[in-house]
């Protein structure tokens, strides 16, 4: 997927799952302090991202360093490359 496609799909997850208005979903948004997620939300975020992008996240240590939306986008991009997923239809 392109970065832009990842951004759109990730923002859709955040908007749908956490009811966050679109205008708050900017790359530099801090997911805990500004978007209001907490520890329980991150478990559901992982499940939703895995389902959306068909990547494995749960056991990945790098998920602990996610602080902003931009980091989420980059993380998905990296995972797709590492896990060599073909572009979804």
């Amino acid at each position: 997927m392109t970065k832009e496609e990842i951004v759109v799909a990730t923002n859709r997850v955040f908007a749908g799952l956490f009811e966050i208005p679109e205008e708050k979903l900017v790359p530099q948004a801090k997911i805990f302090e500004e978007l209001g997620l907490d520890s329980l939300d991150t478990v559901d975020l992982i499940v939703a991202l895995q389902k959306q992008f068909k990547v494995q996240i749960r056991e990945d240590e790098r998920v602990r360093s996610i602080r902003t939306l931009e980091v989420v986008y980059q993380f998905i991009l990296t995972l797709e490359q590492e896990q060599q997923r073909p572009r979804p239809a």
Partner: protein, 409 residues
């Protein structure tokens, strides 16, 4: 030891006839049944009963997301009923957070919808990684109590009485005892349940559901009726605020009624069959606890779900204890059987009806079954007469009987 008096100062409910007791009373006055044929249920192979009484869920997004995420459908009903009961009692959140308010909310299971979704997600790959964390909280057995406590900030005694159809009355009984003993001043008590094909299915497998009225849903259930053919499941939540009488008096609370007595007991005999002796014993013990004779009771609101055996056993138990002196009716013809919520919803509605000098009939009771005869059934029109002392019955799988005695103040 001096025991405290316990009164009812608030009520809240979400029911198949609407949210709030006035909506239910309006439905009763109009003779409405909430039972419908349910779309899509025929896809469950082997499910014979295709009718139920659904409650409308709306305005749930008024509950903040981070409190709402752990709530399945039944907990959303409970949260709304809880908010209404708190407001109705004239209380604010500071009362909830005083350490002197608790809540006990029972149900048959956690969210049936979420439990089914969890298994549908996990199977057939047996993949746990696909499961949502928050949906776990929808499913656990104390989900309604837990969610209401965190929603209202209740930090007193919080627990759950999971006793199937007797859940709400057992919750009220435990809350009553806690206040009597001085352990808490306020207890928000009752039950919640949600409707799902597997909930009806569990009764269906036991041949306890109504199956002959799938095309005429408004004619079922038919408690005590000659043509009754089983129960109809419903959903919703009913919660009552129990309060220490002196505490209520000091804050000039509006008092609906006083709880005079409570008893619960078991048949110790069979997991699914009803027992007239156990039911009669429970009614007698509740009256003894209340210091009342049977002749002093003005109205008995029955459990009567329209099962062949249950109605028969209950009617015979009522006849044994009360004869034909006390007017008796069941509300399940209007509302269906809201299971864990039923006793609290029905108690609240019965008390409000009594405050209006109205005793509502058993809806769909047209011809009293011979085996249910010998008691004073309210049939057809409401009885418009004063009534102050109420006995509320609730019986459940596992041989459980629970009876509460209240008096309007």
């Amino acid at each position: 030891m001096q025991l405290n008096r316990v009164v009812i100062t608030g009520m809240g409910c979400v029911t198949p006839l609407g949210r709030g007791v006035p909506a239910v009373l309006a439905g009763f006055e109009a003779g409405h049944s909430a039972v419908r044929k349910l779309d899509g249920w025929e896809q469950y192979k082997g499910l014979r009963s295709l009718v139920g009484a659904t409650a409308e869920l709306k305005d749930e997004k008024l509950i903040p997301r981070q409190q709402r995420r752990s709530m399945g459908r039944m907990s959303l009903f409970a949260a709304q009923a809880a908010q209404d009961a708190l407001t109705d009692a004239g209380l604010e959140r500071d009362a909830a957070a005083s350490g002197r308010m608790g809540c006990i909310i029972g149900s048959t299971t956690g969210s049936a919808i979420s439990i089914n979704q969890a298994f549908e997600t996990m199977l057939p790959d047996r993949d746990l990684a696909k499961l949502s964390a928050t949906s776990f909280f929808h499913c656990i057995s104390h989900t309604a109590a837990m969610n209401v406590a965190q929603f209202l900030g209740i930090n007193g005694y919080v627990t759950s009485t999971c006793a199937a159809c007797a859940s709400a009355l057992q919750a009220l009984g435990v809350g009553y005892d806690l206040i009597r003993l001085g352990r808490q001043d306020l207890m928000l008590c009752g039950g919640a349940e949600e409707l799902h094909p597997t909930v009806t299915g569990s009764f269906d497998l036991l041949f306890a559901t109504s199956t002959k009225f799938n095309q005429q849903p408004q004619l079922t259930p038919r408690p005590f009726d000659r043509d009754r053919d089983g129960l109809v499941c419903g959903e919703g939540s009913g919660l009552l605020m129990l309060e220490n009488y002196e505490h209520a008096r000091q804050r000039n609370a509006r008092i609906y009624a006083e709880v005079l007595g409570y008893h619960t007991c078991n048949s110790g005999d069979h997991v699914s069959e009803s027992s007239q002796p156990a039911m009669a014993t429970c009614m007698r013990e509740a009256l003894r606890h209340a210091g009342l004779e049977a002749v002093e009771v003005d109205y008995l609101n029955a459990h009567a779900t329209a099962t062949l055996q249950g109605d028969r056993e209950e009617a015979q138990a009522i006849r044994e204890v009360f004869g034909d002196r006390v007017p008796v009716s069941s509300f399940k013809g209007y509302l269906g059987h809201t299971l864990g919520a039923s006793a609290a919803i029905e108690l609240a509605v019965a008390l409000q009806g009594m405050r209006n000098d109205t005793l509502y009939p058993t809806h769909n009771l047209e011809n009293v079954s011979a085996e249910c005869a010998g008691i004073q059934h309210i049939i057809g029109a409401p009885l418009r007469q004063p009534a102050r002392v109420l006995v509320k019955n609730s019986f459940a799988f596992g041989g459980i009987s629970a009876v509460l005695v209240c008096k309007l103040l």
